[in-house]
């Protein structure tokens, strides 16, 4: 559980993106694209889920990439190489169903770019024609562009402020692509508003659309139901039934609101810790 490498990938004033490589040999052996770990920085810490971005079974390590947002990610970003995490468990959740779909669009927004990386590589290896769309607010927090370009047949970048790539949103590009051509799968990971918009754009085209949800979790093994979300009128646990679901069936409004349940406490604890 020792941090072996650490690198700041993107640094805007309010949104750092950090990559760490952690010793976790048992997880490294088994992790598949789409799966995640739950970790605790310290004994007093919260358990948070993070997607497994890369694994090196020989070295016995996994790579995690996170955006510095709440207390736990702030503390994690302050940890140094050589520090031990208090706990890390995984791999958790269902792996992405990797197979030959045909023409696939993969979308990563913000830190979601990290999460699509293993899926993009695997989809390409499964002989799909992969078009990747990356979107961030601004250029300095864009990362993995080169790696994803190498793993894709085509790659588009959008930034909200136009500081790099095309000015606008990933869904602008998605809409144009779907109007020009037929695609067999759209896979998207990013902020909830982005994933919700992706679902709206693909729905009229009838394109199968998968999203990986970032619900709040505690144990992340199915025991608490904190991460429950309404999918097609049924209650699903993101941790054990997901994290991937059919984007057209997700109750986006419910998920958005549930993810705000501790926002006051989060602000309070960050202030107390002067972070």
């Amino acid at each position: 559980m020792k941090i072996l490498n650490k690198q700041v990938l993107g640094n805007a004033k309010d949104a750092g993106i950090v990559r760490i490589e952690v010793a976790a040999p048992d997880i490294a052996k088994k992790a598949k694209p789409g799966q995640f770990v739950a970790l605790m920085v310290s004994e007093q810490g919260e358990r948070i889920p993070l997607t497994i971005v890369e694994r090196d079974p020989k070295k016995g390590t996994i790579t995690l990439i996170f955006q510095v947002a709440g207390l736990t990610t702030k503390l994690l970003s302050k940890a140094s190489v050589g520090d031990e995490l208090f706990a890390i468990v995984g791999p958790l959740g269902h792996a992405t169903d990797i197979k030959k779909y045909g023409k696939v669009i993969i979308i990563g927004g913000g830190v979601g770019i990290a999460e699509i990386y293993p899926v993009t590589k695997a989809m390409k290896d499964a002989e799909n024609n992969v078009t990747t769309i990356l979107g961030t607010r601004t250029k300095v927090i864009l990362f993995l562009e080169k790696e994803l370009k190498a793993a894709s047949n085509e790659l588009y970048v959008t930034t909200d402020d136009g500081s790099y790539g095309r000015k606008g949103f990933v869904t602008d590009v998605l809409d144009e692509l779907l109007k020009k051509d037929k695609y067999d799968l759209v896979y998207a990971v990013g902020p909830i508003p982005m994933m919700k918009r992706v679902a709206q754009v693909t729905k009229p085209h009838g394109t199968k659309t998968l999203v990986s949800l970032n619900a709040i979790m505690v144990d992340a093994t199915g025991m608490c139901g904190c991460c429950r979300v309404d999918v097609g009128g049924k209650v699903k646990f993101s941790c054990v039934d997901g994290p991937e679901f059919d984007a057209h069936l997700v109750d986006w409004e419910g998920l958005t609101k549930r993810n705000r349940v501790y926002i006051d406490k989060e602000q309070h604890i960050c202030k107390l810790n002067q972070l």
Partner: protein, 474 residues
């Protein structure tokens, strides 16, 4: 001979205790234990034993107490029960041994109050054993010392099975998916009912016997059962538990501040949310908390919720809403009594119909229907029947759903050769506790659904014997 009144157990006063997580029941001292033990009729045919899921020789250990032979009493308990200090605290004795006691009125769902307080006596003896470092005899069998066994899950079943195997000289590795061991004894049962030093003591004793404990490990995803066998484990015990919470399936149940009891208790007990912000896991505490359910988990959740209100300067308002009446509640009578003494409100014959939220999707009220009791259902308890036109609303800014748990499927889902029933529970041979996979045994709530700690331990003990027999055949 007139039957003396039962000796009341000492407890911390309700007002003092409801503001902290210290243990509520203080237990018997020696004089009290002797008086209570002396009430036992020492029946020729001790029917109480038939009420004990593990068949403790209750008559004998109580007699040994009367003779002040506490060591003997401890060893009698340990013949059948590995953790008397734990069971003495959490066993629903009024549904088990005490209900079978000849002093109990027949035809009642739970034991009469004048029956022998077997559980408090068990606790007294268990704690005596702990304080005096007593232990059951080690029965190391040289034929077994070459074997390694993997135990999956560190709840009551896993702890018990590990202890039984280690005592025979088998090398045990216990895997736990959480960062702390103890299973439901840690994340579910609050410290005011199950003090953590007792749990830690029992787990430390296992470590001293040579049991290796590996936390943060998901057997199944991180290592398959086949791989465990390939690594040299000769048998595997599955004590996976009933981990998946049930919900009511009514509108509005996904609103913010609606918790499963498992989530609420895990946040507080395992993650220490009651120490927020020193502890980083938050929990929201409402002004009007409603707990739905009538079992021990509902009582635990309500008493935790009430404490959190008091500790945070909120006027205590926690209500247990239950579909039937108090008599049908499956909780221990002591917990119901304790909850009431501490100030938890009870609203009986209530069926929740819907949760209504505010503009930010935080729950603000609960719509309900009043019920009356109808004919007995499959469980033998009278069925709640909604009364037409009795719909009402109650204020509710935190709701905790405590209506039961289902099988933990983390391992079974990725192990297709493991036969499960329609509930997702693992199917076993009832005598050996062996599953459909040779060399893989199971016990506890993953077999036959939610039960008690002592039932889980009983199964684990049988499984340990099954494992020993299996190993000796090799």
């Amino acid at each position: 001979m007139a039957i003396k009144e039962p000796v009341k157990v000492r407890e911390v006063a309700a007002l003092t205790r409801a503001v902290n997580f210290e243990e509520v029941v203080l237990g018997y001292n020696e004089a009290e234990a002797l008086t209570e033990a002396a009430r036992c009729l020492q029946c020729k045919n001790p029917v109480c034993i038939s009420g004990c899921p593990v068949g403790i020789d209750i008559k004998k250990f109580i007699y040994q107490i009367t003779q002040k032979d506490y060591k003997g009493a401890y060893l009698t308990l340990r013949e059948r029960n590995n953790f008397p200090s734990i069971c003495g605290r959490v066993c629903p004795a009024e549904y088990q041994c005490r209900k079978a006691c000849v002093m109990s009125k027949k035809g009642h769902p739970y034991a009469s109050a004048n029956t022998i307080n077997v559980h408090f006596l068990e606790r007294f003896v268990g704690d005596h054993g702990m304080k005096n470092a007593l232990d059951a005899p080690v029965m190391k069998d040289p034929k077994l010392s070459k074997f390694k066994v993997a135990v999956v899950g560190s709840g009551p079943a896993g702890l018990c099975c590990s202890g039984e195997l280690a005592r025979r000289g088998i090398k045990v590795t216990m895997f736990e998916s959480l960062h702390k061991t103890g299973g439901v004894l840690r994340y579910g049962i609050p410290p005011f009912r199950m003090p953590r030093d007792i749990l830690d003591f029992e787990i430390d004793s296992l470590k001293k016997m040579g049991v290796d404990i590996i936390p943060n490990f998901i057997v199944g995803n991180a290592r398959s059962l086949e791989e465990l066998f390939a690594e040299g484990y000769s048998a595997i015990f599955l004590g996976l538990g009933a981990g998946i919470p049930s919900f009511l399936g009514i509108p509005g149940e996904n609103l913010c501040n609606i918790y499963s009891a498992n989530e609420f208790l895990t946040r507080v007990n395992l993650m220490s949310a009651y120490k927020f912000p020193q502890s980083h896991t938050p929990v929201n505490i409402g002004k009007h908390i409603v707990v739905i359910g009538g079992g021990n988990t509902a009582m635990d959740a309500a008493r935790v919720a009430l404490r959190l209100q008091k500790m945070n300067g909120i006027q205590a308002d926690t209500t247990i809403a239950y579909r039937r009446t108090e008599v049908e509640m499956p909780a221990r009578r002591l917990e119901i009594e304790h909850a009431r003494e501490e100030g938890v409100n009870f609203d009986m014959l209530v069926r929740p119909d819907e949760f209504v939220g505010d503009e930010n999707a935080f729950v603000k009220k609960m719509k309900c229907t009043r019920c009356e009791l109808g004919e007995p259902d499959a469980s033998g308890r009278r069925k709640p029947v909604p009364i037409p036109g009795s719909e009402f609303e109650r204020e509710c800014d935190v709701a905790i759903i405590a209506v039961g748990l289902n099988a933990n499927q983390l391992l079974t889902k990725v192990t297709p050769s493991l036969t499960t029933d329609k509930y997702g529970d693992v199917v076993v041979n009832k005598e050996t506790m062996e599953t459909s996979i040779k060399g893989v045994f199971a016990g506890g709530d993953i077999v036959g659904g939610e039960g008690t700690v002592i039932e889980a331990m009983g199964m684990a003990k049988r499984a340990a014997q099954g494992i020993v027999d299996h190993l000796l055949k090799q």
